[in-house]
Symmetry: C2
Subunit: 292 residues, 2 copies
Amino acid sequence: MNTALKHHMNETQDNKARAATWFTQLRDMICAEFEAIEREYDPESTAQFKRKSWDRPTLDGSHGGGGVISLMHGKVFEKVGVNISTVSGQFSEEFAGNIPGATENDRKFWASGISLVAHFASPHVPPFHFNTRHIATAQSWFGGGGDMNPIFENEEDTQSFHAAWKECCDRHDPEYHAKFKEWADEYFFIRHRNEPRGIGGIFYDYVSTGDWEADFAFTQDVGRTFLDIAPKIIRKNMHRPWTDEERETQLIKRGRYAEFNLVQDRGTLFGLKTGGNPEAILMSLPPVVKWP
Amino acid sequence: MNTALKHHMNETQDNKARAATWFTQLRDMICAEFEAIEREYDPESTAQFKRKSWDRPTLDGSHGGGGVISLMHGKVFEKVGVNISTVSGQFSEEFAGNIPGATENDRKFWASGISLVAHFASPHVPPFHFNTRHIATAQSWFGGGGDMNPIFENEEDTQSFHAAWKECCDRHDPEYHAKFKEWADEYFFIRHRNEPRGIGGIFYDYVSTGDWEADFAFTQDVGRTFLDIAPKIIRKNMHRPWTDEERETQLIKRGRYAEFNLVQDRGTLFGLKTGGNPEAILMSLPPVVKWP
């Protein structure tokens, strides 16, 4: 092996490790912040994230890996799950055709990411979804996004949520925000209901500019932006009282969230249909739902 | 048009009308029986089915039609929906390839059916699903089935449910029961959970022996069998008391039912992806569900 190639391969390994480490650090920061919110709401609260590790089954030549589910049930967060995972293996022939850099003869992949869904006790605190990931085949790229799903839309929150993503995106590429916001509007749309899932946010995939450091910096910034904006909106709304009727509306709205994830969400269906861990994949489902 | 062809076409029209009329009659009988069960449980109960009609949008040359949703919320039946519908139109090119008798040049179809899902207040009364349908393209056939989804399996109920279907099937063809029971076991299996949805029952499709009267008689018998066995099992169990813990187990088990219908059920996905009425299609979803 020549020196340049060896250098490239070491660099690639190093990049993967840095991305996976970042997702773990971000997980720790988010969990700490969410636990702090529980304490602020109720100093007596003992709510904390519980962790559960899982290993990926290593069938037909796949390399394995696994992940950790962190789940908390509190007074503010009725249910919040934060998953991290790092897995590698071979795509099935069926999937390989749709994945950049994967070919019939080279179906190997490596993927690491963080994914989060928060459902709140209060109908006035909007559910959040956030995830970022780094994927490597013969190519490598970043993807992710975040969206907010208010039961009762609050214009101020909507504006501050979009503004946070715009500032984040603008720090990296002036074209990112318009493109990734539109992608979110398109992606987080419940087709069979002909209605948006929420107010959107950003959604991005296949980000690979040729400058790995810049792409990684963007994905890190997306994580830090979520860690900044979600707690602000949670703290702003968590003390507002609610009525039984508002709670009922929330439980019904959650049905739409479940429908989207189970019928349409790419990550969910990909995971379920490729033998992923259903407990980790379905941590996104709301704690209580009504379809009256 | 020659006399034989005219006769055949009139007969076909007549058969369609007879099938659609039967599904409506069966709907009426089932609703009356279920309302009677509510009265038996609580003579003061005013629970009754509420009906809501819908029209199929007539986009791109489709002929329209529509259906009626009947929904009841009672003390025994926490939520029960009975849909009937008769629709006709053109399959999309994408679907036409998978449907017997439909070709690229003749994508027209007619379909009529009844579909029912019952979720009970008591964790000791097993949820039931039942449906039968008649479909006509250049060919015509019957399909349907019924399955039972106990939260806590009761061996006696399981046996009487399977025995009812066996007796029904055996009246028509000695090979039907083994075949249709196996099909149910295969169909009502939640792949991503690697667990059966319930205890099965029967599932059949493409029943077209060449003797329309015999096939119609079988599908009518399937309906009468459901109308006989489900009320027996409901009445047998509806007075049993339950604990909060058993109720909790029920709400979690209902999550599996929702997952199956939204991720896997052919009829649900076909309906949602072809612009069907989501309110009618998703009446199957449980009234309250927990994913803790």
